[in-house]
């Protein structure tokens, strides 16, 4: 299954016509749910976010913050840096796709967003991270090609 978290308005999301299977989960601002109950079984985590200063929007950032419940309060070294150890029950191999949209995203913001996504991917122990940028939310549809 894939887990999609987005901050788009309902009308825009429906207009994108992204194929969502029955098993897939979609979390949006209207639906106040956390991802940690689904992340353990998903094969793809898709984050669709407005690019806010080269990072996630407050809603997506809030969802990721609450995801910290998946971490044990223990530290370990991964990729040469200290990271929180993952709860073995929820440790999983999934691909992470981050799609940022927004008008006038600068090169510095793109770099910062990529850095943030890779770092979050390492923290969540994703198998790989793919980052995409769109200048308009309507163009988010490009992710259809890489969704499982």
């Amino acid at each position: 299954m894939k887990l999609i978290v987005h901050d788009l308005c309902e009308e825009l999301w429906q207009g994108l016509n992204i194929h969502v299977k029955e098993r897939d989960r979609v979390i949006c601002e209207r639906e106040k749910r956390d991802i940690d109950e689904f992340i353990g079984e998903c094969r793809q985590l898709v984050l669709i976010s407005r690019c806010v200063y080269g990072g996630f929007s407050p809603f997506i950032q809030g969802v990721l913050e609450r995801c910290r419940a998946r971490f044990e309060p223990l530290l370990e070294v991964r990729y040469g840096r200290t990271r929180y150890r993952m709860n073995p029950v929820s440790k999983n191999l999934f691909g992470m796709v981050c799609c940022f949209y927004g008008d006038g995203i600068t090169a510095e913001e793109e770099e910062s967003a990529r850095l943030l996504c890779v770092s979050n991917g390492i923290s969540l122990q994703a198998a790989g991270v793919q980052v995409l940028f769109c200048d308009r939310p309507e163009k988010v549809q490009v992710i259809s090609g890489i969704l499982i």
């Binding site: 806010v52 200063y53 080269g54 990072g55 996630f56 929007s57 407050p58 809603f59 950032q61 809030g62 990721l64 913050e65 995801c67 910290r68 044990e72 309060p73 223990l74 530290l75 370990e76 070294v77 840096r81 200290t82 990271r83 929180y84 600068t106 510095e108 913001e109 770099e111 910062s112 850095l115 943030l116 770092s119 979050n120 923290s123």
Partner: protein, 201 residues
Amino acid sequence: MILLLNGGVDIGKDGFRYLDKLKENMASEEQVTILLDKGIDWEWTNRCLEEAAAIVLVSGVCMDGVPSHVLRFLEAVEQEVIGGECIPGKFYAILYTDLYEGEQTGAAMSILKSFCRHANITWGRGLGIGGNSMKPGMKWGLLSFPGLRRRICSRLDVPLMEHAMFIRECMQGKDGYISSACVSRANYMRHVNRASRKKHA
């Protein structure tokens, strides 16, 4: 006037520790502290932003980014700027993380710099602090000899004093990142993990 922004109630509780240290080194300056929780008085905050010679944000880092409530505050400030208010003061940041390396606050620091570009505020200097779990007065097992305790207390003194100097003089400078230089990474992790296990046993 120096405006001190404490990045929130929950994860910002350590912010008071750094703010107090900073205040000690800026005693001669007028200071105003605002806690970035839900009850922000925007009229008062906007007036402070307009009058401040320096704005200092102290916040923890969450999932490598700026916490969501701080992001909401920054977006609201940007809207005020677009609405016509001008913020003349320079922006300084102190970001901290429980992870050992101060450099792990780098992504959040870039986000704050980008905010400054959007809000047309001049970036002053950033200080990223790693090893936030290492607090003065903690027992460090076999390592808790007085010399080490003194070093834990003072490891932040010089960087914070230096940062306070930049703020006081409203100068721009190169960002600084500090780790727990007085304790090795292995010792730091061992201690934090032991304390966590004991707490959660």
